[in-house]
């Protein structure tokens, strides 16, 4: 499960920025290409594709700063795409 989330997130980021090489612990906000529009897309991606609703108090930069951080967040707040609806 965790592997799937990591792979999906990595693919989402590199799909938008093919010119970068990304490792899972890299701070993506430090790479210089993340503007607020992409930050919002990342949140939308996590919510829609990975099937979790991020509670307002978890909507913080550090939770979206790397592939590892996002995977940890998904683990914490939801069970991912295979979870039953509701």
């Amino acid at each position: 499960m965790a592997q799937d989330v990591r792979a999906e997130v990595r693919q989402f980021i590199t799909g938008r920025f093919p010119q970068i090489t990304l490792d899972d612990d890299q701070d993506i906000f430090a790479l210089g290409f993340v503007n607020s529009l992409f930050a919002m897309e990342l949140v939308m991606f996590v919510e829609q594709r990975l099937g979790v609703r991020v509670p307002n108090d978890e909507l913080r930069r550090e939770n979206f700063s790397s592939v590892t951080a996002i995977a940890a967040l998904v683990d914490r707040v939801g069970t991912g795409t295979e979870a039953p609806a509701g």
Binding site: F12, G15, R16, P18, Q19, F33, N35, S36, L37, A39, M40, E41, V43, M44, F45, Q48, R49, N56, L59, R60, R61
Partner: protein
């Protein structure tokens, strides 16, 4: 507080309504398409939720949405004091709308046209209130952009201009005055840049990511022209270039065929989930 009407609930109308409501103004948001109204409410809800995450103020989505009423009927605008029009960038649609809007809204209300390129004097001529008619070119995303172009038409009164300036001031927008001309300052330059960038992709000189990379890395622009096109809407870019082409009757504004193909295919950028880039799972509306 000013009772404001917002017509057109697309990319711009939703942003304008949110920005007004979050500063306390009651807003009536009208669109002929009920789905656009639903999407606008969803977008506003999401943007409020994300506001702090994106470095903005803490916003209570319920409170902001509580100040916005929606309707498909222009009659809902009858008592508004200022009406901001943000419908599709099409002369034919605007030409049909303005006389009806003029009849539906009280005579002393001020009209604001938020257009990418259509001259304000031309739009004002569609109404019986050219003195109370002002152009404001908002920037996208509206809640995040600190400045606008403000454009008086030929007949705009000082009083109407002052009303609109005060409203803009109350929502934290700096108003930069420019004279009335097709495309104003911003889009006279930007639309040609985006159109030419589309030609580069069309001719195979570089792909979209490479074009944008040159602007970001070499010029230090925060976004390249084709990312910007996806944000604005590829259809809106095409319509704006066509407006410039028609107005100046100058072939330097010839629209790139790739923009036409993308518009016909529904690849309108972020709002449809695909443009020069794809936005799977992103801020796109749910319908295909």
């Amino acid at each position: 507080m000013t009772h404001v009407g917002v017509v057109g609930a697309g990319v711009m109308g939703a942003g304008v309504a949110q920005n007004l409501a979050r500063h306390g103004h009651p807003v009536v948001l009208v669109d002929s398409d009920p789905h656009a109204l639903t999407r606008a409410r969803e977008t506003i809800d999401r943007d409020c939720r994300m506001s702090r995450f994106l470095g903005g103020p803490d916003l209570d989505a319920e409170e902001v949405l509580g100040r916005i009423t929606t309707s498909e009927d222009l009659a809902a605008l009858a008592d508004t004091e200022v009406v901001i029009e943000n419908i599709t960038e099409s002369w034919d649609l605007k030409k049909d709308l303005y006389p009806r809007l003029d009849a539906a809204v009280r005579a002393d209300a001020v009209f604001v046209a938020n257009t990418s390129a259509i001259p304000i004097t031309r739009l004002a001529s569609l109404t019986r209130r050219p003195r109370r008619f002002v152009g404001v070119h908002f920037m996208n995303p509206v809640p995040m952009k600190p400045a606008v172009e403000i454009i008086p038409g030929e007949h705009t009164s000082a009083e109407a201009l002052a009303t609109v300036r005060a409203l803009l001031d109350s929502i934290g927008k700096k108003a930069i005055p420019v004279n009335d001309a097709c495309g104003f300052v911003s889009n006279r330059v930007l639309m040609l840049t985006v159109n030419e960038a589309a030609f580069l992709v069309h001719e195979g000189v570089a792909d979209a990511a490479t074009v944008d990379e040159v602007f970001r890395s070499c010029f230090g622009h925060p976004m390249g022209p084709l990312e910007t096109a996806d944000l604005i809407g590829v259809d809106t870019i095409l319509h704006s270039v066509e407006v410039l082409h028609d107005h100046f009757a100058d072939s330097k504004y010839r629209p790139c065929p790739l923009l036409k193909r993308m518009t016909d295919a529904g690849h309108h950028g972020r709002k449809t989930g695909r443009g020069f880039y794809t936005y799977d799972g992103a801020a796109a509306p749910a319908n295909p």
